[in-house]
């Protein structure tokens, strides 16, 4: 199984998420993570969808099927080495009186994670990194403390090519959205 990151650029319309995910469902492909946000251009959304698949050919077909959606402007399928990617995780950690104190220095300097909220008997730690980084940190925290809640954001990614969005979606088209 290879991890693929599929970036989809669309006009921002209601129901599009559904139209895109139907394509995965119909081919019985499980979505590992999915994030959507507006790009630097107003009205243009960016979907970042992570899947695992055995066949590059099938992923290419999937990409072409997504491209076929009327509102989709561009689709790119990437391997991990073709992108810079990260996700964010939050850990809600139990710190009651008498429990082991939080080793903030290790968390900060070794794991590059930060306490973003101090509750009465818990803290919330935020960690940005790849899936591996996050699970390394998860393993460390679990040894030391009770984890009350844990959440990951799903991957965001940008391609490693020198091109910006504008280059694969010609400038003339953008005026429509500005």
């Amino acid at each position: 199984m290879t991890t693929y990151t599929i970036c989809v650029f669309t006009s921002n319309t209601i129901g599009l998420l559904n139209r895109i995910t139907i394509i995965f469902t119909r081919r019985r492909i499980n979505i590992e993570s999915l994030t959507v946000s507006e790009t630097e251009r107003k009205g243009v959304s960016r979907f970042t969808i992570v899947i695992k698949h055995e066949s590059r050919e099938e992923v290419e077909k999937l990409v072409r099927q997504i491209r076929k959606i009327v509102e989709v402007m561009a689709v790119f399928g990437y391997l991990n080495d073709e992108i810079v990617y990260n996700e964010i995780a939050m850990f809600k950690i139990s710190t009651p009186l008498g429990a082991k104190p939080l080793d903030v220095e290790t968390i900060n300097s070794k794991y590059k994670a930060w306490v973003v909220y101090w509750g009465l008997d818990y803290v919330v730690v935020e960690k940005t990194g790849t899936e591996t980084d996050i699970f390394d940190f998860f393993a460390y925290i679990r040894q030391q403390h009770d984890i009350l809640e844990f959440v990951r954001s799903g991957r965001v990614a940008v391609g490693k090519t020198e091109q910006g969005l504008v280059e694969y979606l010609p400038e003339a088209e953008w005026a429509y959205y500005l």
């Binding site: 669309t10 006009s11 209601i14 129901g15 559904n18 139209r19 139907i22 119909r26 050919e57 290419e60 077909k61 072409r64 099927q65 491209r67 076929k68 009327v70 509102e71 989709v72 402007m73 088209e173 429509y176 959205y177």
Partner: protein, 580 residues
């Protein structure tokens, strides 16, 4: 697409500006798209539109069907004849869900439809209101595009987009869900309409890239045993002439898919037959012998390829196709040519060398002889006790000079119609290919006749299929459309029975029908007809049907357990085609 903006025939001078309701705007928009025929069925959530339609009866011919599925199939037949979108108008909830089958059918067979469906008022959306169904959600996977209109102001722009998307590129069905509140409310600005010319995220490529055409031409010019597989896309691109010229210049034999039939006349010397599970012997088998396959506007359906992993492995494949997602989907293309079939063939025509592949072409004739001896001659011999399906089609073909439009349903009769009708004119077969929708033919034949009033339209229907949509006899009669319908009655769901016979040891599981008296039913609807059960009266029966002034139903009692051959059993390779 035309680019001119269309001035509505309403007063837009500033002093007297009248603001239109969404429903009125919809009517003006349809007129602006030159819609003159709508197939529909009214109901609660579409009533404001029907009210507006009342004032447009002089410009738009609304045809009241008997069931929304009938509206959809009729619009499909109409669209295929007219080469532009068929329009359906139905209400919310069940009205819309009844359209689901035709929409799915239109998507897989690339038929342009614009389906306008009512929806509950905006405030009621998501409340499980009366006749509310999530039609957007339901139709998302089966439409080329769908959109929910919730304000009157959106109407002109969305309708323009709907027609542009349905009709351009690879055509397909578009659904517009319009809330009752949007139909009723007034626009906040004066109505104006501009036809859609482009959509930023949707730009189908018409003219193929020159380097792709050159690569294809190079393969063709070097080929020893090239072979053209022509699909529905040729017809959709109106590229019949280009296909013929291309084949004639290069001397390459042409086979068609089921939906590609009639793109080239069956008596053309380069036409070798049709492909697929029940297609001709030579055309199927010789796909394994070709060195270059030129697939034009077809999508390598599994009914064409059999086991795709064993299909045309030896050949270089040129795939001319307007929908890039079809390239490499089933069969890897060595030379993809993305573009409109007409444009691609025009470009190719300039680059290909004249040739004459006589020896290669003659190989097809060898197989023809075998097929003729083992299947065709016995099927038409008249030796069986009862009439065989092929005899009816063969005789019909002769009597109509191969110039009628056949509208066929799904099953044995569909395959027999394709086997034995000798198509002489382009765009003469309307059938449900990809979806295989039983019940398609009767309403589709009606729509076909409306779309092609000058042509003889004959529906070939099985006794099972007929009972799925027979209520549309009412529509045919009310609209006085002289549709000729032939029921080939074997009292069986024939194709399923054939499979049960061949692959399930004759365990006939729920395939025998106790049929009603079809002629009495037709007469009940006010349609004339008669039954033919004797071979001696078949010719006269067909004459009577064809000469009848008005719609006519001819029921022919045929051999109960006749099988369609050749047959490529599902999942096997085309070389394993069975002749018996």
């Amino acid at each position: 697409m035309e680019t001119a903006s269309v001035t509505p025939d309403i007063d837009t001078t500033p002093e007297t500006v009248q603001l239109l309701s969404g429903a009125q705007a919809l009517m003006h928009s349809l007129v602006a798209e030159q819609v003159d025929t709508i197939f529909g069925y009214p109901g609660g959530a579409i009533m404001p539109v029907y009210d507006a339609l009342y004032d447009f009866q002089d410009r738009i011919n609304h045809i009241l069907v008997r069931h929304e599925q009938g509206a959809g199939h009729a619009a499909q037949g109409y669209a295929r004849m007219q080469g532009r979108a068929g329009v359906c108008l139905v209400t919310s909830g069940p009205g819309a869900t009844n359209l689901v089958t035709p929409i799915a059918d239109a998507l897989i067979d690339s038929t342009p439809l614009v389906c306008i469906v009512g929806q509950v008022g905006k405030k009621l959306l998501g409340t499980d209101a009366f006749q509310e169904a999530d039609v957007m959600g339901v139709t998302m996977p089966i439409t080329k595009w769908n959109y929910q209109i919730t304000t009157a102001d959106e109407v002109p722009e969305i309708i323009a987009r709907a027609f542009y998307i349905a009709q351009s590129g690879r055509p397909g069905p578009v659904l517009i869900d319009i809330t009752k509140s949007a139909q009723l409310e007034l626009m906040t600005q004066p109505y104006s309409y501009e036809r859609c010319r482009t959509i930023i995220s949707y730009r189908p490529r018409m003219v193929p890239k020159p380097e792709q055409v050159e690569a294809a031409a190079k393969l063709i010019n070097g080929a020893k045993r090239p072979y053209i597989l022509a699909g529905h896309g040729v017809q959709l691109a109106k590229a019949e002439d280009e296909l013929r010229q291309f084949a004639e210049k290069t001397g390459i034999p042409v086979a068609t898919t089921l939906l590609g039939q009639s793109t080239i006349s069956t008596d053309h010397p380069l036409y070798v037959g049709w492909l697929g599970m029940h297609g001709n012997y030579g055309p199927n088998v010789l796909t394994d012998e070709a060195d270059v396959i030129i697939a034009i506007g077809m999508r390598f359906d599994d009914r064409v390829t059999g086991d795709a992993s064993k299909y045309i492995r030896q050949a270089k494949v040129i795939h001319i196709e307007i929908d890039p997602s079809e390239i490499d989907k089933i069969i890897k293309a060595d030379a993809p040519v993305v573009g409109d079939a007409k444009e691609a063939l025009r470009a190719l025509l300039k680059l290909v060398h004249p040739n004459d592949h006589t020896v290669w072409r003659n190989e097809f004739r060898k197989y023809d002889v075998i097929e003729n001896e083992t299947i065709t001659v016995p099927s038409l011999s008249g030796d069986s006790e009862k009439i065989q399906m092929g005899e009816v089609i063969d005789l019909l073909s002769k009597k109509t000079n191969g110039e009628a439009v056949l509208v066929t349903d799904v099953g044995q009769h569909q395959m027999m119609a394709s086997r034995y009708y000798q198509f002489r004119r382009p765009n003469s077969l309307v059938t449900s290919g990809g979806m295989g929708t039983m019940g398609f033919a009767l309403p589709a034949a009606f729509g076909t006749k409306v779309g092609a009033p000058d042509r003889t339209v004959v529906a070939i229907i099985g006794d099972g299929c007929f009972q799925m949509t027979l209520q549309e006899l009412g529509t045919i009669v009310q609209n006085k459309q002289p549709v000729k319908a032939i029921i080939l009655n074997n009292n069986f769901l024939g194709m399923v029975r054939q499979w049960q016979q061949l692959f399930h040891e004759r365990r006939y599981s729920f395939v025998e029908l106790q049929n009603p008296d079809f002629i009495t039913i037709a007469k009940g609807f006010g349609m004339d007809g008669h039954t033919c059960s004797e071979r001696e009266t078949l010719s006269e029966s067909l004459d009577r049907m064809l000469a009848h002034d008005g719609p006519y139903l001819l029921e022919v009692i045929v051999e109960k357990e006749e099988n369609v051959f050749p047959m490529v059993p599902a999942g096997t390779s085309v070389s394993q085609i069975r002749l018996a």
